[in-house]
Subunit: 455 residues, 2 copies
């Protein structure tokens, strides 16, 4: 069981992925007598739990991102490499970035997950998901463009479709998106339009199971659903999406099939493992589960390869409960830290007991002054849950980088109810009138009727 | 000279463009007994003077942008329309947005300028300019990607090209960009790389005239050039760019022709009027200057059309000095406010004396604790000029929107010297390793030489 490692020349740890799993592993190795190389496609770590606030115009991408080099600039044993790992050779102990080969003694794979459409990849065009900064900016563009298009639309049926937002998936991301869009429509933007009555906006949250926030205690799911309804969200559980095409979402509720006309469908329903899972399976013979996650050993290594570890959303760790640990930031963080500790122990000729996840609880924001928090021993809702959510998120943001700006931004938004980051940007935003031409028959008050229209 | 206007039904003012000229005109009409329609391609006003701080990773786009609807939400007589004006019919008094026609009684055209390559449009690919949020994000991507590529490059000649930044144009934008990039390389990023010695970075500022900041007093140009040199910028005046292609900038200094190998060339040299200038010329017969700017009458209207005004960078106003007013924010702001006041006067059967620009001075940031300010009666440099620059910019930012976050961000950056917004984002950023494949021969410390390289 115990691997005693030779550490002369220094032991080389390669970490693939700078998300929570990879970054916490690197940070935990900062003072260890090893050389660390962290490889990521992007030059920044993204605080994904707050991505929905970028998508809905509260925060800027940089507010929830930390440049990897800045986070690790004090870790003199750590090198950051920008690039994409394409392959692994476990026999020669190398990872490949295109033509380039990087040697490792210990490899930690933490490439995470991407959103999944359960095989219906053609839905992605109509219902974008939320995993990257670019996804969030695209979602933000769609949401704010929808209100703009509604303002110009004269046909009431089309206007209704522009003002209907459908969120597929009632997990934390779906709940947070639905709450934030409802707040936008009913509070933030209520003074901003002249032609439309923005209170006609409909926000519909669809969930396949019988309650939202399935990982939470049932009574908190109940509280969340009621709070969402108070915010103006229509919560529809036991609802399956059977098709998404153009601006029609087809749903199945029991035996009933219904169609919802919506120009803005957002996907928060499923994830699958990133491509590195498949690479590992091919190169090492390790087993993956149906979602493509790598089935790991009790110490997070993979079968037959004591020096290859998988942490975070890419790992299926089922040694603690009957089911795999959930794909959330605290799991990834603890797994990364565990592997970092194990590598150091092994260099001393020792080992560690198996990985054990400590679940401190779950929390989800619903909207201003409203959240749900499930800490197991205590359950919070309403204002105190909301405050707890803020404190926890600021605490974790500040841990890597001093994101004090986020705190100020939130405080400012709270006082003014403004959202300054609601920019429509990107290549497509410049073609606004052209892109939507076929759908939006533009409209303006004609010259002979020059009364102001302040609805 | 006096136009007495019938105001029943309410007088319809259409403003095209939500930059400084258009937005200040709209704000000044907020309480007037007119209906206002502000049309812009984008849903936000951009504080262009700070765009270089987005390009160099200090601020986020949203920090310097204000949603037009939010700025004008209290102006109940004002409607914001998202779209692009394609044509004008001065006879029927309508502007065209594609198929849509919008009637006006008074038209204010404030569509600004874009960067110009003096007929060498093929240079744009190699030397992007800085006018939009997308431009700034592209510049930011190129700057930070260059350091990343240098870190991976083993060939010293290629590495030098990655670490060479050429800024074309020594006006305020060029000076501010050069100062900010020097500060990045020599201060902000100095701890962040392991393979390269980032102090090898070269920042070269090219200016055709005999001094930088030509609109300022000569002694301040001198101060600016010296300060830039202290920051590590190579300032080359009386230098003409004769070609930009691939990663070679060809320059002419006197009779000497030289080539500079640089992977990152940034354009801050010239602007030309936006396309609306040409439309106005065709539809009304008004004259344009060589840069495409519309030559306006002393009251900013155009010849033969008392109810069509041009303000801001699109206007050539030469009735005050022998040369046209410069294309800067304060000119646009005062012109917009003047036209708004004139429209109101005319409704009362009165008029105003001709437009008269009050020049409060010019200012340019060079770097931490260093700026130049020319107020005419007083000239400042160094720390006090820098502080003055900060106060003025915060004052103007806060005027439309409460950009208190910017102040905090600056304060924070000042204390920590960090730049949190240095994200490499956008579609191309994801293809980093692929895009640069032909130029960057990747490099890594081989297994048999595992010493940490901490340069």
């Amino acid at each position: 069981m115990v691997d005693v490692l030779d550490n002369n020349p220094p032991h080389q740890v390669v970490i693939v992925g700078g998300g929570f799993g990879g970054l916490y592993a690197a940070k935990a190795l900062a003072k260890a007598n090893v050389n660390v190389t962290l490889i990521d496609k992007r030059n920044f770590h993204l605080f994904q739990p707050l991505l929905y606030q970028v998508a809905t115009g509260t925060l800027s991408p940089a507010d929830i991102s930390s440049p990897l080099r800045a986070v690790l600039s004090k870790s003199k044993n750590t090198k950051v490499l920008l690039g994409e790992v394409s392959d692994i050779n476990p026999e020669t102990q190398q990872v490949m970035m295109g033509e380039e080969k990087i040697a490792y003694d210990t490899l930690i794979v933490a490439t995470g997950a991407k959103h999944s459409y359960f095989g219906k990849d053609n839905w992605e065009e109509f219902a974008p998901g939320l995993k990257t900064v670019e996804d969030a900016i695209e979602m933000r563009r769609r949401i704010f463009t929808a209100f703009e298009a509604a303002e110009k639309e004269t046909d009431p049926v089309k206007r209704r479709a522009w003002l209907t937002f459908v969120i597929v998936g009632g997990g934390p991301t779906g709940v947070e998106l639905a709450g934030a869009i409802a707040e936008l429509a009913y509070k933030t933007l209520k003074e901003d339009f002249r032609n439309i009555d923005i209170r006609e906006t409909q926000v519909i949250l669809l969930e396949g199971l019988d309650r939202v926030l399935p990982p939470f205690a049932p009574e908190l799911s109940q509280v969340a659903a009621l709070s969402l309804q108070e915010f103006g969200v229509s919560v529809q559980t036991q609802t399956l999406v059977t098709n998404i095409e153009g601006d029609i979402v087809t749903i199945k509720q029991g035996d009933e099939i219904r169609e919802i006309a919506s120009k803005t469908v957002l996907w928060a329903a499923g994830v699958k493992a990133s491509a590195m899972g498949k690479v590992l399976a091919e190169r090492t013979g390790v087993e993956c589960d149906r979602a493509g996650r790598v089935i790991v050993e009790p110490d997070l290594s993979i079968k037959g390869y004591h020096n290859i570890f998988v942490v975070g959303d890419l790992a299926n760790f089922s040694h603690q409960n009957s089911k795999p640990l959930p794909g959330v930031a605290p799991v990834a963080k603890q797994e990364g830290e565990y592997v970092a500790a194990l590598v150091q122990k092994r260099l001393e000729g020792q080992t560690l007991p198996q990985f054990n996840y400590t679940d401190y609880g779950s929390l989800a924001m619903i909207g201003q002054n409203s959240a749900v928090v499930d800490l197991g021993f205590i359950k919070l809702k309403g204002f105190f849950a909301w405050l707890f959510w803020l404190v926890i998120h600021i605490y974790f943001l500040i841990e890597f980088d001093n994101k004090i700006v986020v705190m100020i931004q939130w405080a400012w938004n709270y006082i003014t109810r403004k959202r300054g980051a609601r920019l429509i940007t990107g290549e497509e935003s410049l073609a606004f009138t052209k892109v939507d031409d076929s759908h939006v028959s533009s409209h303006y008050i004609p010259t002979n009727n020059r009364q102001p229209v302040n609805v």
